[in-house]
């Protein structure tokens, strides 16, 4: 479905190194608009570093990142966020000192205009913006993600699965054009994983947001994604539709080393209990 549409994000020959350690080498791929694209690969393959480059937290050594047709390589992270690059984090970066509601509201920061003086007086623009934001967060995000029962709780008191959901809520408040999810279901039980999968699909279909995710849960990747990119040792070793990628022998070798390829393939495809 999405193969024909123009790319929303293009990564060209991206290389990143920390000192002598090459983290990414000439990584190129595109994310079609409106798709769910998954980046998979063994631990240490550079998936999260890839995300950090796109967010602007790491400065790549060379290469280009184009978002909606323009190069964003020179932009600071906050500017990229304002353009609509929203993300969640692998080890959950919620703000412990704030309630769930405030965490979600924070996501909208870059799109608001309240100045320091408005804020101190809480009058005019500040009052209007905050009230509008509250209504929108409640009606569009909190109801959608079914987290209304925890809205006033401090995030520190939440269970792991709920925290992941609040992080997704905060990313949605960022008015994303592309949503980058770093291991959205890692550490979740079956039920929580199914909920998250449902939310991801709804975000794609109802909100029309492109999704780029890093995930180890192959079942989820196979079910949700239109497009899969496989990284190993900082290089793209395969890309394409999920079925194509899982039958690629390089991929299987990267994941599981050598061995009986047929058994391994079935393991990857979830036919054999892991």
């Amino acid at each position: 479905m999405s193969d024909v549409s123009e790319p929303i994000l293009e990564v060209r020959d991206l290389s990143l190194a920390f000192g002598g350690l090459k983290v990414l080498t000439d990584v190129s791929y595109t994310v079609p608009k409106g798709s769910v694209t998954a980046i998979i690969g063994p631990n240490g393959a550079g998936k999260t570093s890839m995300f950090n480059c796109i967010s602007g937290f790491y400065r790549p050594k060379s290469g280009a990142i184009r978002f909606q047709g323009t190069d964003i390589g020179h932009l600071h992270p906050p500017q990229r966020a304002e353009l609509g690059l929203a993300r969640t984090f692998q080890n959950i970066a919620l703000f412990r000192g704030m309630t769930v509601l405030d965490n979600i509201k924070l996501g909208r920061h870059a799109h608001m205009k309240t100045s320091l003086f408005d804020a101190l007086a809480y009058f005019g623009r500040a009052r209007r913006e905050e009230t509008e934001l509250r209504a929108e967060v409640e009606e569009k995000i909190i109801d959608f993600l079914e987290i209304d029962h925890i809205r006033n709780k401090p995030v520190a008191s939440l269970a792991y699965g709920l925290r992941k959901r609040v992080e997704l809520a905060r990313a949605l408040a960022m008015k994303p054009k592309i949503l980058m999810l770093d291991e959205p279901v890692a550490g979740m039980n079956r039920e929580e994983t199914e909920d998250m999968a449902r939310f991801i699909l709804d975000v794609k279909e109802e909100w029309g947001v492109t999704i780029l995710m890093v995930e180890h849960d192959m079942g989820l990747v196979m079910d949700l994604s239109d497009h899969v990119v496989v990284l190993n040792f900082g290089q793209v070793i395969a890309a394409g539709k999920p079925a194509e990628v899982t039958s690629n022998e390089d991929v299987i070798r990267a994941y599981l080393g050598s061995g009986d390829v047929e058994v391994l393939r079935r393991t990857v495809q979830g036919e054999v209990a892991a």
């Binding site: 920390f18 999260t48 950090n52 967010s55 937290f57 984090f89 692998q90 970066a93």
Partner: protein
Amino acid sequence: MIDFDWLFFLEVSLAGLGSGALLALTGLSFVLIYKATRAVNLAIGEMLMIGAYAFFSFSAGLGLPWWAAVPAALACGGLLGAVIERAVIRPMLGESAISVLMVTIGLGSVLIGAVELLWGADPAQLPDFMGTSPVFLGPAYVSRKIVIGFAVAATVITLFILAFRFWRGGVALRATATDQGAAYSCGIDVPVVFSMAWVFAGVAAAGAGILVGAVGGISPAMGIFGLSALVVVIVGGLDSVVGALIGGVLVGLIEAWTGTYLGGEFKTLITFGLLIAVLMVRPYGLFGTVEIERL
């Protein structure tokens, strides 16, 4: 323009070198604590002060000879370090670095109050135990106390560095500094390393305190010396022993020169100006480890 008095400059520089050695010793004590426990100890100057006052009590108060009073004061410094670690630093384990820093600010305040309470607020002189006859290095005159201070500080620093390199405890300390979790799982008793670091730092600080007190007298405000030591470790890098040495000598020289040629009141201006400049240009100091941030 009048002729520049090179001999005088040399004498000032030597004096600066002398106080630089004391700064380096204090800085070493600071680095020791930072390396082992990641605590920025803003009470270092006050720990130094307690050492000086302890010496004062043993020598002037109890009339002990200096060779008995010095070890006694050092022991007090070590004890103080152990008590501080156990009572206020260990409960803060796992708290943010900022909280620990604020605890040490409170600690400094408590120690100043304790000194005023026990010994009074007036400045005092340590009994003279080093002699006063001047020392001539070539043509340059240097105060005897400064020479002795330099020699002692240099010896102690050398001992510390050797211990750091070769002694089992020193190795354990370096391992803990690199990775607490890994050190713990290798069988290193991390809490003991913590205590040990504070004890040794307390001893070093007390030693520095005796020397500083011998040169400049003692008062409840002498903890301000700790602020100069803070400049030293920022310049050298919070976790670098070598940095503390070089930073100490550097700051000692700069303080001596500004104090002499610009006037004493400029000392704080110049040293703290230096601190801010270093923070702007090289935030991790000349030899400090650059921390890599992770998301």
